[in-house]
Homo-oligomer: 213 residues x 2
């Protein structure tokens, strides 16, 4: 451990564009690795790697993700609005290279499923494709678009309609062992990580010592 | 791997409240482990463990986090609005028990720094306390409150004013090696995880094979 550096606004301004993007994308900490599946009204499927999926609430069950400004073509966004559905699929080590490749900018008429070699899985309840290879799949109904004025990004929120997962990973108290399912974490734009559990802590109260569950 | 289970709305409704919360908090995948530092106008400091910090943008540099409905006392929220500042501090293995304990509901007049045994660090640019022990600290100016109507949660957004990190962790291309800094990931409400890098991938383009960086 050596020299602590204090980066300020002048340093930020001096950063080259790509450096700046990589640097600031590192700051939030580890991110979830998910593939978002959608389809257009003609049935062309789309797949997009997203590292900004965030829990919004449990009752009703809501999840969201950040989408960059829609000034350019965003298939995921257009499909989600057109059909009202999307899927979130956890990425594990067996599919992470394909998942990363899906972030390439393919034309709208090409399905990333075919381009990167992942399989579609369909269910009646959700008008969007799941990633067959994923071990934790979530089907959602689009609920709300929240506009962020500071930089014209968008928070898209869906309500969970279906969760597909092996019962082996679901604990008696509702905890899903996503590490055992092989779910990966992402750092910055392109770093992928396995995890190694340090355990779970009991619910924290002011006058009680924590226990490991 | 055995029995795949399809959970639907009827299953969700049948879930006991705590099970439901733990279950849905598992779905987003791995989350960042951060301590958010604020202070009130009298200088009483507050610390709160947050697993919903998300990257919003690099230019301007924006980060956000989800806050539950403010129908009850939320010190972090009140302080952030009153002073206009907050800090985000990565959690590593040396402080994760203290970090988890900070999620206990202490009275407003008690500082979680004292209650859980972490040290404050102050800098001129930011009217909020950093966690001295953290290895990646971010000072932010409050920019925007975004209301989520679906469940009355709030997305709070700040602009990065300062980043404090050892130069050892900052790569030539701007990537901050948060795994080397010991930053942890969280699963559901109470699971903590170390990470193990699988490497970084090159920028994905349609007609080019991925390379490991």
């Amino acid at each position: 451990m050596s020299s602590i550096k204090y980066f300020d606004a002048a340093d930020f301004q001096a950063m080259e564009k790509r450096f700046r993007t990589t640097f600031f994308n590192s700051l939030s900490g580890f991110k979830s690795a998910n593939l978002i599946g959608t389809q257009d009204t003609k049935g062309i499927t789309n797949l997009s790697l997203v590292s900004s999926v965030v829990h919004i609430g449990a009752n009703p069950p809501l999840m969201g993700f950040i989408m960059r400004p829609v000034s350019v073509q965003r298939d995921t966004y257009q499909n989600l609005l057109a059909t009202g559905y999307f899927t979130i699929n956890h990425v594990h080590e067996g599919i992470y290279a394909a998942a990363h490749q899906s972030s390439a900018r393919y034309p709208a008429e090409i399905s990333e499923f075919d381009a990167v070699g992942l399989n579609r899985e369909f269910r009646e309840a959700v008008k969007a494709p799941y990633v067959a290879e994923s071990r934790l799949k979530i089907g959602l109904v689009f609920r709300e678009q929240v506009n962020i004025h500071a930089n014209e990004t968008i928070l898209l929120i869906g309500e969970v309609a279906e969760v597909i997962v092996s019962e082996d990973y679901v604990s008696e108290d509702g905890y899903i062992a996503i590490e055992e399912a092989g779910s990966l974490a992402i750092s910055s734009l392109d770093g992928y990580h396995r995890t190694s559990s340090l355990g779970r802590f009991s619910y924290a109260k002011p006058d009680r010592d924590l226990k490991k569950l």
